[in-house]
Symmetry: C2
Subunit: 166 residues, 2 copies
């Protein structure tokens, strides 16, 4: 049995018991959360969200890539969200490696050097500010009323605010 | 008070009470989950995950974009994941719009036509298969032992498996 088989079994228990029933696909809070794929971040528990409350975007590092701009554009155009909460976190894998070393490692292990940025970064708070600046600079996100940047401290479960921009 | 202020208050309660404490950043199941940003999908509840169990990647549609390939590459290279669970869902916003209409709408509302694909699709099961094929075709993901594709039925909370590839 693969690990995914076990997750499917868990889903069966969830659908049979804890599932809260249908909600609207339009986020009730008007918030889109952007954060890292890190396994320790249970976004709904961390922010007290219920199903239906907020869009959740996640990738390696919580980087504001073109794909995040695409997703936020659709979040604002099709679903009317107006606030963005960006959450990076302590002990992030992308903070422990350098971009060039990482590209060389991928090349060594897969045979190919990625033509895309891997989005490694060196300073957590600086990268939160950089990410917020990318959201603010995007011409596709004119409906952004508020962008807030946080660091999630994985040892305590606590968010620390780095920057707020309106 | 903005909606984000309320989420920050929720986090305070979470960190003070329910936070399970530190875990390792290496996913214990070896699984990376790729799914949509849709607000109704609480991934940890849906799959019975605990913090530390799996990487979670989310964007508009759960599309396998370059950013998802980047994130999966790092998931496999830095954290050793070997299984990918791709989850699309019923009632998806990306299923209700056509790519060209969507681009025109973004242009009309923001003044700019996006140069990037918005990743609208017309058939849910076909798009799951297409997304799985993109993962399998990527030369950056040689460690993929298993890729499974699902549709999450938002009215029932239940996963329906579409395709499994090894």
């Amino acid at each position: 049995m693969s690990a995914i088989d076990e997750l499917v079994r868990n889903n069966d228990a969830f659908a049979s018991g804890r599932y809260p029933g249908s909600q609207s696909g339009t986020p009730s809070t008007g918030v889109a959360v952007v954060t890292c794929m890190d396994a320790r971040i249970d976004v709904y528990a961390m922010l007290g969200l219920r199903p239906g409350d907020a869009h959740v975007l996640r990738n390696a590092g919580g980087a504001v890539t073109e794909d995040v701009i695409r997703s936020l554009t659709l979040s604002q155009r099709l679903f009317g969200t107006q606030e963005v909460a960006l959450v990076h976190h302590t002990d992030c894998g992308m903070l422990k490696v350098r971009e060039q070393e990482l590209k060389e490692r991928v090349q060594r292990e897969t045979g190919l050097r990625p033509p895309f940025a891997l989005e490694a970064f060196t300073d957590l708070d600086d990268d939160v500010r950089q990410s917020i600046a990318r959201v603010k600079a995007s011409p596709y996100l004119p409906s952004t009323f508020e962008v807030r940047g946080f660091v999630y401290e994985v040892h305590s479960g606590r968010l620390r605010e780095v920057v707020a921009v309106r």
